[in-house]
Every structure is written in structure tokens, then in C-alpha cells.
Amino acid sequence: MKRVQLQRWSSTVLSPRARTVSRLHQHVFATGSRCQSTASPLQAESSAQEGPGDAGFEDVELMKHVRSAHRRKDMLKYPSPPVDAALNSAKLAALHARLYLPSRLPPQTLARALVDASADPNPDFNNESLATLGHDLLTYYTTEHLLCTYPRLPLTVIFAAMYAYAGPKTLAAMAREWGVEHASLPGGEVDPGLLQFRRVAPGSDLSVATYNNRTPRPYAAQKAWRMTVTSKIFYDDEFGDAIKGPATSGEGVTAELASATFVRAVMGAIYLHAGRPAAKRFFEQHFLSRHLNIAQLFNFSQPARDLARLCARENFELPVARIISETGRKSRHPVFVVGIFSGKDKLGEGAGASLIEARERAALAALKGWYLYSPLNVRVPSSMEEEGAAPWKPVYVDLGEVIV
């Protein structure tokens, strides 16, 4: 459908002397009917100056044809579809209904959210401002959810979880699930229901910094220097990556980045048109509802040592590994179940094919048990914005991760 429309536009409007028109000419000369005037505004630029209200046309249907042809021509002047085209787009209406967006959010804004800054550099018509607002909202809601639900998470795990919830890859997958299609090329004549962005030229190297580097980090050019996790809080973005500036004009963006910007812009548009509760609901329904197993984000190199440090810090007894059960010690496939005990309390349990493996896994389970602590009745700070909210009780704040 999308391709068919584009072909039609390009053959009639973009190149007036296309093959179809010349065939129409032959047809006109052969029959001598009034079809001649249908082609007239298309085949020559000079005839467009006469205007559609010329006395030469009497037929109402004919006038409609001519007017629409002129309108198509006007559309070509702009890099993105005109605002009033949003009301006539079936794709846009379908997307609005599919996402169950609030009716206060007009389709014109949704159409604007679909225009990337690489397609239309005019900030009044592209989605950059909406996306900035939406990005801030998304990261704020995700951060407060993570910090209040799992107050003991190490920072690297928080970065990974943030990326999993609100990273560009997830947002691009969401845009794909929402059924947002990409326009081949941006322009004023394309359907406003398509995501419009200028693509990266094929063959260009994405690993080279195409974005102007705006990181405030001192000595950022020293690639070999060690970057501490703490410095990432100060200098880097919410995913622990270096801050990138906006793409320079004239360069394209990847489809992933454009889709992510669109999803952020939708979030910002909902916040602007329908308010805070609707934005929060949208976040819970589309972002928090996605399942993320945080226990899989951990990676320890020496869990037994870390656990010993943790127990020393918290004034627990030294952790001791004890064999809970075992089978086939002298066989080819033995299984040991080892528990880590601190005093009389079991901290973790793990099974493995060797005593060392079982002990490491048990220490790992104990560490995860510590880091994945979640308080009862979690409330986030933004829940105080609701009407009639209960008085705020301070959330649990942990000392921080174990540093060896």
C-alpha cells in the first residue's frame, strides 16, 4: 500500500513528463475528449500559473482533480506533511486507536511525533522537543521504579536495567510492535502515518563518531584510561554511556534511533495533552509491564570474596560453606549441594558438579539475595502527585554495593 502510493505520487507530481503522461497525451490526441485538461496542470509548469479557478473548466469533478493536483504540488514545497493532512490519514487514526491514546491527544501532534529532526530540521514541525520531554519522563519514572523496588542494586546493574527498560533498542522494538512503518524518504507528500527520517547513507561507518561528542568528561580522548563507575554518574547519560550531542543537520539517523525518538515523543505528547496521570498510566502499561529478570543482569568474578567482605561490613559471622547433600562423588557426574552459612543462618544455596563450583554458585545466590532485596509496599515519589495520596514515608536507602 505504502509503495503503491509513493509510485503514484512520484510519477504524476515529481516528474510531470513521465511515461504515463506521455501515454495520456497520445490518448488525448487520439480521442480528442476532455481528458486533455486533466493532464494540463501536470504536464507543464506554465499552465499552473493560471490557477484552478480558470474559466476554461466547467465540470465540477474536473475542478476537483485540478485542485488536488495543485495541492500535491504545494505539498512538495515542505520537507514534512502539512498539518491538515493528519486528519485524513487512515494510518495515523489507526495508530491512535491501536495505542488507545487519550482523545485529548490530537492526530496532528501524533503526526508531528512521527517526523524526525533529520527529515524536517524546523523545530516547530519535528519531534525533537517532544522527544526530549518524553525521554526525561521515561528515565525519571524508570529510575524511581528501580531505585525504590530494589534499593540495593549495584550501579552497573541499574545501568543495564535502565537500558533494558528505556534504551533505544527496547524503544525501537516497541515501535515495531506498535506497527509503525517507515517512509522510504521523508517529504511533504508522504502519508503522515509513516515514520519519516533521513536514513544513514549505505556503507557509512557507524562506529566512527558521527555525532558531535558533547561529553563533559575531562580527558575523554584518553581511551585507555580507566573509567570508574562513579564517574559515570557525573559525566555520562542514564545508561552509563558517553553523552552524545544531536546529529548534525544533513546526516541521517538509523531506523533504530528514529523509532526510539518517536516513542519518546509519544510519551512527551501524552504528557503535554493529557497530563501527568495519563503519562504515568502509559508508562506503566507499555514499559513497566515488560518483564525483566533483574537476577540475570549480574555478573560476578569472585562471589565468595565479595560475600566475605559483605559479611564483614554488616557485622555478620564469617560465611562458611557446608555440604548439604551430595551424590556420586567418585562418579563421572557428581552433584554437590552446598549451602553458605553465617552462624546458624543459611545465606544461599547452590548445586554444582564440583565442590568449588557449588560453593561459588552458593556464594553467588547469597550475594543476589542481598542485592535483590525488595521492601514491602513499594511506593515511588511520583505517586505523591496523585490526588488523595497517603502521607509520604521515606523509602529504604542502602549503604551501597560491596567494594573490595
Binding site: N299, F316, R322
Partner: protein, 201 residues
């Protein structure tokens, strides 16, 4: 002979591997009748466990057969709960008799490493001096044996000289150059498996 065995209906005879080897000549196992099928079937009727029966008919009871799997990591151990968490007081009651036998469980290591803390700063200085003066003689393990501490402690207080490290690297390379593809792959696999422990895979 065969008829008398069948007529005796001794149950173990229905299982041919229980019979002594002389019965092979009688070709008992080759004949299968409806009765032998029935007897085999009868053996398989195992009485269910007592917990599945209705012995406690007077009162209600809960049968809890815990699955043979590791506990969930989302289930925080009571010791790790903060002092103001409500779950802490709820769990202490039912944890009474389970922890009694902890001290009876065998240790993973043969003996607990007892911490002596007997080395003085002068000893540490001597360790460093010895290791720098003659690194070939005074290796980590020899120093550990002499000063009655762990090799880890030796590594914590001093470092080998760069020449010694270079020699050791060359020795390792010489050993590894003798490895064939099988041994090399096995070592690499072992390393990968070890890394997978940390990701809990």
C-alpha cells in the same frame, strides 16, 4: 518340571533374571502367557507413600513436598532483611528446628583455616627482602610455609620482581606450546565454564 514351577505360584519366579542359570535350558523365558503378564503387572503395583493415603482422616492437613530446586534469589534470607522489615519477625518462629543441625553438616574444606595474625611488621619486611633477594628460591609457597601463613598473604604483601615474572611467563609458554589441540580446547572450555558460574548459567 516346568509345570510344577508354574503351579507353585512363587512370585519371584515370574521374574526370569532371579532364576539360576540352569533354568535357561527349560526355555521358561521364551514362553509368555496371560498369567505371566498378570503376575508381572502385579509386581508393578507399588503401594503409594503413606503421605498420599487418607490415614489422617479426622483432621485437615497440608502436605508440603518441596521441589528439588535451589531457592529463589528474590527470596531474601532473613539475615539480610533490614531490622525494620516486617518479614523478619514473621520468619523467626518457623526457623527454629531447621538450624539446629547446621553445625553437623560437613565443611566443604577439610579444616577451617584458622586465622592466627601472628606476623609482625618485621616479618613482613623480611618476606619482602627474601623475595627480592632470591626469587627463584623463595617462591610464594616456600615463604608461606616458612612464615606459616597463606600464599595469598605473601602475594598481598609483596610482588615478584619483573625478571622473575618474565621467567615464569616463558616457562608457562614453553609448557603450553607442548599442548595439543584437545588439551588446549579442554582448558579453554574450563575457563569459559568458570566464567559462566559468575553469570549463574
Amino acid at each position: 518340571m516346568a509345570t510344577s514351577i508354574v503351579a507353585s505360584k512363587r512370585p519371584f519366579l515370574s521374574l526370569p533374571f532371579l532364576l539360576p542359570s540352569w533354568s535357561d535350558s527349560l526355555a521358561l523365558g521364551s514362553r509368555r502367557y496371560q498369567s505371566s503378564y498378570r503376575r508381572t503387572k502385579q509386581r508393578l503395583r507399588v503401594k503409594p507413600d503413606a503421605t498420599f493415603g487418607s490415614s489422617h482422616q479426622g483432621h485437615d492437613q497440608i502436605i508440603y513436598n518441596p521441589p528439588s530446586s535451589a531457592p529463589s534469589v528474590y527470596h531474601t534470607p532473613s539475615k539480610f532483611l533490614p531490622s525494620n522489615d516486617a518479614r523478619r519477625s514473621m520468619r523467626i518462629e518457623n526457623a527454629g528446628n531447621a538450624t539446629e543441625s547446621v553445625q553437623d553438616l560437613p565443611n566443604v574444606y577439610r579444616s577451617d583455616p584458622e586465622r592466627k595474625y601472628h606476623l609482625t611488621p618485621a616479618d613482613v619486611e623480611e618476606i619482602r627482602k627474601l623475595r627480592l633477594s632470591d626469587p627463584m628460591t623463595w617462591s610464594r609457597h616456600k615463604l608461606a610455609k616458612r612464615f606459616e601463613c597463606s600464599p595469598l598473604f605473601i602475594a598481598m604483601v609483596c610482588e615478584a620482581s619483573p625478571e622473575k615474572k618474565q621467567i615464569q611467563r616463558q616457562v608457562l609458554e614453553a609448557v603450553q606450546s607442548q599442548w595439543g589441540s584437545k588439551r588446549r580446547m579442554a582448558r579453554e572450555d574450563r575457563k569459559l565454564r568458570r566464567e559462566a558460574w559468575g553469570r549463574d548459567e
